[in-house]
Amino acid sequence: MKRSLGWRVALTLAVLIGSIAAYWWRGHEALKRSPTAPPDPTASDVLKNGLKLGLDLRGGIHLVMQVKTGDALRVEAQDAAEHLKDEARKRGVNIGTLPPATAEGFSIQLNDQTEPSKLKDLCKSALSQTDWQIDERGREWRVSLRTPARMQIEDQSVRQAVETIRNRVDALGVTEPVIQRQSTDRILVQLPGVDDPSRVKEIIGTTGLLSLTLVDDKGGPYGSQEALLQAYGGTVPPELEVVEGFNEDSESRIRTPVFYGLKRAAAVTGRDLKNARVGHDKYNQAAVEFFLNAVGAEKFGRVTGENIGKRLAIVLDRRVQSAPVINGKIESNGIIEGNFTPEKAEALTLVLRSGALPAEMIVLEERTVGPSLGLDSIKQGVLASVVGMLLVFVAMVIYYRLAGVNAVVALLLNAIFLLGAMAWINATLTLPGIAGFILTIGMAVDSNVLIFERIREEIDGGKAPRNGVDVGFKKAFGTIIDTHVTTICAAAFLFQFGTGPVKGFAVTLVIGLLASVFTAVFVSHLLFDLIYGSKEKVEAISI
């Protein structure tokens, strides 16, 4: 039997060189992209950067946010209700009263003068029949969104939220952020290297919904909600809403809450915003200046021109920031005061520039790992891996002597292939991934043990040593495939289940096991052939 060693050696070397090259190349790439990399990286810098580290090792923030799509639906319903009212006014149709809209839709309360047939015609022409469904129940009609339209709006708002968050994160200058839609209404945000959760959450989570709204003539401000209600005789009219703000003492700068009665329809919203920048208020405190686009300026100019002497509320995220008296026609710019620190003002301009989120968001899950804990984990993980590997190596050499050395070489190659493959596919190394790495070594050795035990049995059974090796490899192969399939199968479920760090573990395990089929079966067999040459007659095998 002729043994073709040439191509087998070539293939092994090619994979080895490929792995090292892939790792080296990835290290260089990572250094090139890193803004904090030293100007002339040394070899050890490159080695340290070959693997992308997970948030748990390098530090960073992991957030899962939920978009409250109900907000977007409510806005949509409110817009439709306003539109219907406008149309009714134009055509002189009496439609009764419209209470504030909810996420489910809005209702129309017919009064005595309302003619149902006219109202029906109006609804048909003013509202899209594909989007809205009208349910006539006597004197109260329910207008609600149809399911496809509702789903489209929900989908739209989550997509818009992803886009907005991306803009804001980009403005923060985070390298390699992950911003992903996770399910219908969840968004995953991962920011490696950022370790300031409060600041990040403030920037990402602020809705940034700016509106400039007229304060009603009797709209206050009042010191309490009761006082405001009293001024209106118990209930505020439907076209008004109560919004909280604050009053600031110019001397002591102590804030007290106040309440405004604001017109429900905003004069101008953040959609008409062109730019925002940090400016100063009259106390020389940091404030945010904003500039409107042409459409916004036209609207704003009209409203301010018609309402000189009245108050205009600047509302941010449903809170009145200030409500100055309109002294004259203003067109394109304004200022938001609010006793900001320079950092807060800077953050707010960033939020306003990136556009408002379509809906409020809540944080469902937050994980922050500081850089020092990650550093500690790496040290401990590497130590455990090295010690674990050495223990396995020593045990193998003691137990199998020369064949044990063969296994050690195969395991070392396995480790190199694993690192190279992970660098090549740019997989993320996590702390459980380090555990996966060292477990892989423990499991990969199983293939070697299976083969070696088989060889011993064959030789014990009377086979010639050289033949025993070949038969041992051949017979153990089926079992090796079986054991690998089961473990990889479990790892696949693990991948499906896990969040970031656990996914990293699954990936490391699978790659390591695949590499071990190659090293234990192919490389190890080759090593036997290399050691004992191509002679068929070998006296004894050290195993």
């Binding site: 904090t36 748990d56 950022v194 950092e343 944080v363 674990g388 193998m396 423990g442 035990e453 479990a490």
Partner: protein, 405 residues
């Protein structure tokens, strides 16, 4: 060197003792689980918050608890984390009914007020702020007057500087004084002076913060349970197909379920916390413990083909003996690796390596004493049943099943 030289143990003679013993121990574990109202789930699954702080000197757990509770934050437990000389404290906060409360901010503020009273409100604490916040402050104040210099990029330069300062902090644990930060290589004297004037170094740092809402916790619990159950089913299917025998597949999965429940029960008795990584260990364990079983089964199949006339009992017994060295050696080596991980891998991986260690022992035991004997029990039962149904047929008791190749 050899552990066993052609061993001839009669494993099957003790099968009923082992099966009974396993049932009893697993039942005790399950009772403990029921008694304690389910597994001791960590914050990943229950929801709630877990904060780890590093202090510059010996922290006082009781005082920390009092301080945090005064700040209207409920506290489940305050305990030392990792080695005692690291001065780290793990704080657990039960789940909030409403999602979205910024607990780490509130707790940090409370701790600052109590342990660092000399800090003025709004002072920039080098131990509590990260790279990006420090960079933003440097850019805003511009102590090196980079903005005025031509060809300079203040944002990038200050970014590198902030990074090296925070890296130094990571290596030192935390800055004991601002001087330590000013002495970091690369910090210019002007910047050092700026640090001393504009920043402070508090007595603690937030190492990690996890805050999991009730929804995510529930999702993860369900996903974890499904992953375990589905991987059981996958193993059943694979072994069933590979060995073309319901008895092999079922026996392997019974052994597998036994391993999982046994380990889970033991975790419950020992109060091991079930975190995400521990569930990862369970799933790995499922793959691993089937390994041993498959190796034994492979050998049984091979020996059945070789010696068709031998009774099944002796074939199984011989197969276990032939693979015994391999089973002990592999499990021993993997166990060794897990020991290294347990003692050296750090606090986060301790639960993981503990479950792996238990799992390896149980998995090895079950593939020898449960999975293989169960095949015999099944086949004997089937033979008895078919003998009852058709008394004319020759007793197939103990014979290798014809279905398995």
């Amino acid at each position: 060197m050899r552990i066993f030289h052609q061993p001839k143990f009669d494993f099957l003679s003790v099968k009923w003792y082992c099966i009974t013993g396993s049932i009893v121990v697993t039942a005790i574990g399950m009772l403990s689980l029921v008694y304690k109202g389910g597994p001791n789930f960590g914050v990943d699954f229950t929801g709630g918050a877990q904060l780890i702080y590093g202090f510059s000197s010996q922290p006082d757990e009781n005082q920390i608890r009092k301080v945090v509770e005064t700040a209207q934050v409920k506290v489940d437990s305050v305990q030392r984390f990792d080695r005692a000389d690291k001065n780290q404290v793990l704080l657990r906060v039960p789940m909030e009914k409403k999602e979205g409360r910024d607990l780490s901010k509130e707790v940090t503020a409370a701790l600052t007020k109590a342990f660092f009273p000399q800090a003025t409100a709004g002072a920039f604490d080098l131990n509590l702020n990260g790279t990006d916040a420090l960079q933003a402050k440097l850019v805003a104040d511009d102590p090196e007057k980079l903005a005025a210099k031509p060809n300079s990029d203040p944002k990038a330069d200050y970014g590198r500087l902030a990074q090296s300062i925070i890296d130094a902090r990571s290596r030192q644990g935390l800055f004991k004084t601002v001087d330590a930060a000013a002495k970091v290589p690369g910090v210019a004297p002007v910047t050092g002076a700026w640090l001393k004037e504009k920043t402070v170094a508090g007595p603690f740092t937030l190492l990690s913060a996890e805050n999991v809402g009730p929804q995510v916790g529930k999702d993860l619990r369900e996903k974890g349970a499904w992953a375990v159950i589905l991987s059981w089913a996958a193993m059943l299917t694979y072994i069933g197909i590979r060995f073309r025998s319901a008895s092999f597949g079922t026996a392997a999965v019974v052994a597998l379920v036994h391993d999982t429940l046994f380990t889970l029960g033991l975790c419950s008795i020992l109060n091991t916390e079930i975190s995400l990584t521990v569930v990862a260990a369970f799933l790995t364990l499922i793959g691993y413990s089937v390994n041993d079983t498959v190796v034994v089964y492979d050998r049984i199949r091979e020996n059945m083909q070789k010696s068709r006339r031998d009774p099944l009992t002796s074939v199984v017994n011989r197969s276990i003996n032939e693979t015994l060295s391999r089973t002990i050696l592999t499990s021993g080596l993997t166990f060794l690796v897990c020991i290294a991980l347990f003692f050296l891998g750090g606090e986060v991986l301790r639960g993981f390596s503990f479950v792996m260690m238990i799992g390896i022992i149980v998995g090895t035991y079950s593939s020898i004493f449960i999975a293989a004997p169960l095949v015999i029990v099944w086949e004997e039962w089937r033979a008895k049943k078919s003998a009852q149904n058709s008394p004319a047929a020759p007793a197939a008791k103990g014979k290798a099943p014809a279905k398995a190749r």
